[in-house]
Amino acid sequence: MGCEVISKERVGVINPMYDCQPAGAQYAGIGVKDCIPLVHGGQGCTMFVRLLFAQHFKENFDIASTSLHEDSAVFGGHQRIIDGVLTLARRYPELRVIPLITTCSTEIIGDDIEGNIGKANAALKKEFPGRKIHVVPVHTPSFKASQVGGYAECMQAIIKTICDHKVAPTGKLNVFPGWVNPGDVVLLKHYFKEMGVDATIFMDTEDFDSPMLPDKSIHTHGRTTVEDIKHASGAVASLALAKYEGGSSADYLKSEFEVPSHIVSTPYGIANTDAMLRKVSEITGKPIPDSLVKERGIALDALQDLAHMFFADKKVALFGHPDLVIGLAEFCLEVEMKPVLMLLGDDNSRYKKDPRILALKDKCNWDMEVVCNADLWELEKRALDKDYGIDLIMGHSKGRYVAIDANIPMVRVGFPTFDRAGLYRHPTMGYRGAMLLGETIANTLFTHMEYTKDREWLLNTW
């Protein structure tokens, strides 16, 4: 009994859980307003990532490529960087930020990114004297980290480049939620508003859920502005909700500008949300309002109907981003489910020492496996193993066929969730997120009971 933390033994990957570093960097980049990331590499490294975002959000996001062709692969892609930056600047007059994201190939070729940005900046200054465009160097060769690391890297690079001096105190709170859905961003904003806390979300992706309007205007873009980023150095504190996705940026602002940094457990589930709100209250001195006590109560009230009646002892397999998977495992324990398998998709050596994982070990009196550097084949093998006995899979759409073929109910959560409608709109974080997640789990189990005629009569009365 107890928890074992292991790593995948195979060297190769069958069905990856995460995309590459530049993909994560592109996701962070599109969260900035008036920003088009420019990916320095082959066209595939960009085109597919744009498609992936479109699949998940059912929206289009603008990301450019330097379109590395054979000649540049041989002679270097310097001119293509400068041409790319200038073409974007000329054709997009509102543009203020261009994260220049490297890929495996351009890192191998060894293109001098900083040097070329210097040249591009000089050219920009000459052609657009009154206009400041921040070209941000983002080094993200995929062979060093995954989309998780790439997200963190780009976030930090943007802050490093744009937030270049200590501004006067703003009284604001920097919040780094990590790679979450617009539904989570909306929920967090709501909490801060209820508490009377002036917070800036890095990145504010609320408008990744954008409307069809009578005037046909398009508002699908990040809302974090250059000013927001500049003012990060004057904040009262930084609050990172995702250690592996936002922690490094919070730490950077601390070491560079002495902005206190707080990295809390990702607020999935009731207790983690409690801890986050208490932390916000402690930092800002603002009390937790009655309205949130009520929201918490509604969530508890809903989950109480489900936990020991339907959820208890259900064996759950979880996969996805590390902060999400750990948070979901904690949520599972709250509702009496047993996380038996947690899959983390890259080889970040910090996972094995993560205090949250160590704490889980103490809490479980059943066999639990944490597999680092995992692929979805690790999931598939266990899902098909009747003795392993997984009752529920929680993870993103790339694992859909495991659930389909093993005939195990699956709840989509994380990124990407392209095979279910509208999930990006709903929070997973906070009380409301916990409630919605619990209800989705319940309804998924119920549907499965009906389709497999497994005690479907149970619901004849409830």
Partner: protein, 472 residues
Amino acid sequence: MPMVLLNCDKDIPEREKHIYLKVDGEDTRDFLPISNAPTIPGTLSERGCAFCGAKLVIGGVLKDTIQMVHGPIGCAYDTWHTKRYPSDNGHFQMKYVWSTDMKESHIVFGGDKRLEKAIHEAFDEMPHIKRMIVYTTCPTALIGDDVKAVVKRVMEARPDTDIFTCECPGFAGVSQSKGHHVLNIGWVNEKVGTVEPEVTSPYTINFIGDYNIQGDTQLLQQYWDKLGIQVIAHFTGNANYDDLRAMHRAQLNVVNCARSAGYIANELKKRYGIPRLDIDSWGFNYMAEGIRKVCAFFGIEEKGEALIAEEYAKWKPQLDWYKERLKGTKMAIWTGGPRLWHWTKSVEDDLGVQVVAMSSKFGHQEDFEKVIARGQSGTYYVDDGNELEFFEIIDLVKPDVIFTGPRVGELVKKLHIPYVNGHAYHNGPYMGFEGFVNLARDMYNAVHNPLLKLAATDIRGETTTRFLEAAE
């Protein structure tokens, strides 16, 4: 002034050479858009990479084959779950992707050993699978791993396996097109002629350039069955690896997608003397013409006529129902390349639809020659169109529906223009007679979607809402 410099392109004036507006009475050969040329960096082009042309489009369709992508994880992740090509064996090819997941040390010291290990592992994990294609990617091409040597070693160690190497890094060429070429030529060089098929019919063909999108291949297979024609190999829809090793034994190569697979047909002609017959499989007129040509080749014309008559009787009334309602619809096509010329005339003839703008990601000169010859005047023909150009052209031609990919589809949704998935289809198959009715239905449902009218309504304006009596 048939070549057009759009306003959004004033800072990249070279784009003028890529955009053509057809005018009546012009000799179009004087005004072919430049194509298959390098992309201008930073233009938000739609193009993908050569690796994807090889893996995602052609090789990845094979239903019994491990697709080993030698490179860091992204190249594999990104070319998985982006296609709709089912198979009759449970969709093995859509469920899995394999990667050697290169790390920094392999970039520095070489990835050969890792590749070898990953190949063995893959076969060990799925012992019923004996076929594999190994692809290089930009990173592994740059570090110069000797993939062919590795593959040779593995095949010696595992005599019951067969592995094909496709060395086609993303940066090769200017678009996915280069990948089609590399895979075609590599395959005919190394694999064709290594398996003898069981020939069961006096009439044998290879059906080339059809990837079973939403079951296209399987639908057309019904026709071949009825005609008594044996398809030795489908290149590559719903196909097994070994089917394609036997391509040398067909009497005729019937080519649908000339762009992605014309190369192999030409090589088969050169090396084995198999004639090449190009047909279009989308549209009633075209499909009937294609069947007639194939049947004429074998001297089984009556069979062909019987099939066409049967299919017409079954599907033509439905097509006509849609034609009646789609007549005059303005359509834009923004896809890879060949579908421009496959579709422009068939939607015009069969459905009365007018194609007003077309953009190709990777078409070559002969694709533009074909599409401009088949297409209408007043229509824009664009090579490697980019996002701002799309906006401007939409403004100029005001299409009612756009056949394109899902991402661009999401973009034009905001402009209240419905899209139909021009790559993976909405509810296909779209080939053949039944398929074209599906296409017509999807177009009709797209254009007549009531939400579009609601989207255009500004509820702040004067009330025009009509209350139904019962609601008052």
